[in-house]
Symmetry: C3
Subunit: 206 residues, 3 copies
Amino acid sequence: MEFLSLMEIIGTVAFAVSGALVAIEKELDYYGIVFLAIITAVGGGILRDLLIDLPLPLALENPLYVLISIATAAVVILFYKKFVKYQNIILFFDAIGLAAFTAIGAEAALTHDVYMPFVVITLAVLTGTGGGILRDVFVKEIPFVFRKEVYAVACILGAAVFMGAYHLLNQGRVSMYICFGVTLAVRLIAVKMNWHLAKVKRIEGK
Amino acid sequence: MEFLSLMEIIGTVAFAVSGALVAIEKELDYYGIVFLAIITAVGGGILRDLLIDLPLPLALENPLYVLISIATAAVVILFYKKFVKYQNIILFFDAIGLAAFTAIGAEAALTHDVYMPFVVITLAVLTGTGGGILRDVFVKEIPFVFRKEVYAVACILGAAVFMGAYHLLNQGRVSMYICFGVTLAVRLIAVKMNWHLAKVKRIEGK
Amino acid sequence: MEFLSLMEIIGTVAFAVSGALVAIEKELDYYGIVFLAIITAVGGGILRDLLIDLPLPLALENPLYVLISIATAAVVILFYKKFVKYQNIILFFDAIGLAAFTAIGAEAALTHDVYMPFVVITLAVLTGTGGGILRDVFVKEIPFVFRKEVYAVACILGAAVFMGAYHLLNQGRVSMYICFGVTLAVRLIAVKMNWHLAKVKRIEGK
C-alpha cells in the first residue's frame, strides 16, 4: 500500500474517532454516533466534490472510507473509556488525518483541472477542515477550527507549499508528500507549543 | 393519481407541518415559518440531487412540492392551535412521509445509474431524513434523528429491503412499494412500542 | 466600471463586514473572522451555483470577491471600534449588497437557462440571503433572516418585479436595475419604518 493511502486511512480513523467521541459527549444515540463519525471523516471531501461538480462524491463512489468510519464508530462505542483516556494520542493521529486530507484535497483539485492557486488552497483547506466543521454544526457548537487553534492555518501553509513545489517540480506526487509534511509539522508544533491564533477583543455590552 | 404520488404529497404536507410547527415554537416570523416548512419538506431531496449532480434539483424543476409546502405553512399559521392538539396524528403522517421519501430516494438513485447498494441506501436515508436535519440545524437544535428515535434506522431497513427486492424481482416499482411498507411499518411500530436506540453513557466531568 | 459591478463590490464589502463583526462578537480567532467574512459575502452565490450545477462556483472561478472579503476582514480587525460605532451606516451598505446580490442572482438564473419564475425568485433570494444564513448557522444563531426583519421579502419582491420587467421588456440588464431599485427601496423603507414580519404566538408550556 502506498504511504499516502495509509496516511489517509489513519486520518479517516482519527476523524471518525473524533466524530464518535463528540457524539457520545452530546448524548446522541447509536445512529447519531455512526453518522457523526462518517460525516467528520468524509464530510470535507464531499463538500469539495460538490464544489468541483463531480458526478458522485468520491466518498460514495468508493465506500471504503464510510465503511472504515462505521467500523471505527463501533469500536469507539465498545471501548469508549479507553478512547477518552488517550485523547492526546488521538490528537496526534488527527494531525496525520489533517495533513493527509489537505494533500489529497490539493491533488484532487489538479486532477480535476483546477490550477488557480487560490482555488487549490481553498479546496485543500475544505478537504482538511470541512468534516470537523460539519461535525460541530450538527452538535450545535461553533466550529472548533474557527475558535483558537492553528488548524486551518496549517492546511493553508501546506497547500501553499504544495503549489510552490508543484510549480518548481511539476510532480504532483512529490508535491503531495511535501504538503503532507509541512501541514503535519505546523500542526504538531502548534499543538506542542500551545500556539493559538489571536482574537479581537470585543466591546462589552454590545 | 398513483398511490406513491399520493403518499409523497401526504408526506410533503406532514414534513411541512413539522417544519412550520418548529418554526412557530422557535418564534420565527412568517417568512421563517414558510422557509422552514419548505426546507423540511424538500431539503432531503435537494441534498440527494446535489450529491448525484442533477442539473437542477427536482424540487426546483417541479415547483409542486414547494407550493404544497407554502400552502401547508399558511394553513398551519391560520390553525396553529389545532395542529398542536393533534400532534399524534401528525406523527402518523410524518411516518408516511418518511416511508414515501425513502422509497422515492432509493428509486431516484437507480434512475440516475447509481446501483451500489451502499449508495442507494445512503441516498434513500438522505431523502427521508435530510429535510428534518436541515430544519433542526436552522433552529439551533441537535437534529432529532441523531438523538433517540428509530427513524433513520427505519429508512436503512426499508432501503436495504428495496435493494434485495430489486435484485430478486428486477422491478423498481414493486420494490418501491415494498420499501414504503417496510419503512412505514418499522417506524410506526417503533413509535407505538416506544422503541429507542441505545446511547453510550458519557463520562461526566469531561 | 459598470454601476452594478460597483454595487456588487459595495455589497461584498458590507456583507464581509457583517460576517467579521459577528465573528468578533462570538470571540472567533483571526481565521474564524476571515472565514466568516468570506462565507457571508460569497456563501449565497456558492449555494446558488451548487443548485444550478456550475462546474465551479463563480466565487472560486473569479477570486476577486474572496480577496475583497479577506481585505475587508483585515480592515475590520484593525478598526473594529470604528465599525461598531457606525453600525447604522453598515445597515445601509448591507441593503445595497442585498439588492445587488438579488439582481445578480436573478440574472444568473436566466444566463443558465433557468426561466421558471419560481426558480428565478428562489435563486435570487438564495443569492441575497444565503450568505447571512450560513454566517448565523456557523456561530450558532437562528438565522437573522428568519426572525423578524423585512429582508428576504425585499428580495422576493425585487425578484418578482425582475421577472415582470423581463417579460415586458425582454432586457436582462434593465430588469436587473429595476430589481436592484425595488429590493433596495423595500429594504431601506422597512429599516426606516421599523417594519417587521408578524409571528404566530406560540402556545406556552409545550
